[in-house]
């Protein structure tokens, strides 16, 4: 796996359980520096304070959704290149296309398994 496991990862989800699941899976992969945020606004604040190597975000959150977060990140010159994976139950084709147009690096449909998460992270960093 050509991924720097020391890089900080930000997990964005409004459900503590999902944050806990992703956090455990990331630890299992080997990541140690993992932070979390409950919505896009909180995530954006953290991203402007700390440079993250990867963002894994849910879509449906309030007040700022993951989709809005992605667009904000891509518009910010200091954050624009941050790898961004969407992990969401939004499985309509229009969602996937919109996320891709907005610059998402990969897209995982919930429910997902550890293998899917690992393979998508590897795919993002093999580009």
């Amino acid at each position: 796996m050509a991924v720097d496991l020391t890089m900080p990862v930000l997990v964005v989800d409004d459900y503590n359980t999902m944050i806990r699941i992703i956090r455990n899976l990331l630890k299992q992969i080997g990541f140690q520096d993992i932070d979390d945020a409950a919505d896009g606004t909180a995530a954006l604040g953290k991203m402007r304070e700390k440079r993250y190597g990867l963002v894994i975000s849910d879509w449906n959150m309030e007040p700022m959704t993951g989709y809005e977060l992605l667009k904000e990140v891509r518009l910010d010159p200091g954050l624009a290149k941050t790898p961004f994976i969407m992990v969401t139950a939004e499985s309509k084709t229009e969602n996937v296309i919109a996320a891709k147009k907005a610059g998402v690096n990969n897209y995982i449909v919930k429910p997902f398994n550890a293998q899917t998460l690992q393979s998508k992270i590897e795919a993002v960093f093999s580009d």
Binding site: T17, N24, Q28, A89, S91, K92, T93, N95, I108, F112
Partner: protein, 212 residues
């Protein structure tokens, strides 16, 4: 309301047709007044019965509307049924969250356990697996709670459907409130479709073809 009919005034018309203004006497004027009075009496009698019929129909409609509004039991739905359903769903969320936390704690403990002592490790795994089994019992109770909520929704659906049919309700176009309009606008703008029934609309393998 009864319409004024020309036949009501035929007698007045006939009288005036047969009279020349130059020949009109006081007796003629009195006779005309008498004919007019009789004519108006018939007209108002007809009108009274038509108005009465219409008012009776309106009263009947209002009475049936009152019955239907009563059967809707809107106050009971608002003050009792909906809060109770909300409490049931809240309890479901709490129970599933508690069970998930228990299961995850068990998994995390097992993952972090030291496996160098096989006997101790086996005992720990068995203990945590028992906790997992116990935690899974939430499903029975949450299933019963959700059944109660479904029952409430069915009851509300029956009452509202009956009321809508009774008053021949027709839906107004567009959102009912400004709050609803804003929520719908946000949902469409941010593509908040939510999980699809029957599983993801686009599978992970289909998504993968879009990210080669």
């Amino acid at each position: 309301m009864a319409n004024v009919k020309s036949e009501h005034f035929n007698a007045v018309y006939d009288f005036l047709q047969n009279k020349r203004p130059a020949e009109t006497t006081l007796a003629d004027v009195l006779e005309l007044a008498e004919i007019s009075a009789r004519t108006m009496q018939r007209f108002f009698a007809d009108m009274d019965s038509a108005v009465y019929r219409e008012l009776r129909e309106i009263a009947g409609y209002i009475e049936s509307l009152k019955r239907e509004i009563g059967a809707l039991k809107a106050n009971e739905i608002k003050s009792s049924r909906i809060p109770a359903a909300g409490q049931e769903l809240s309890a479901v969320c709490k129970a599933t969250e508690a069970a998930t936390n228990t299961i995850m704690e068990c998994a995390e403990t097992v993952m972090a356990a030291d496996g160098r002592d096989p006997k101790a490790y086996k005992a720990l795994v068995e203990e945590k697996m028992m906790l997992v089994f116990e935690a899974c019992s939430f499903q029975d109770i949450t299933g019963q709670r959700i059944s109660k909520v479904v029952e409430t929704l069915q009851l509300i659906d029956e009452r509202v459907s009956r009321f809508a049919k009774a008053i021949a309700a027709r839906d107004a176009g567009g959102p009912a409130t400004e709050k609803e309009r804003l929520r719908e606008e946000r949902r469409q703008r941010l593509l908040l479709n939510g999980p699809q029934l029957g599983g993801p609309e686009t599978s992970q393998s289909e998504v993968d073809t879009m990210f080669p």
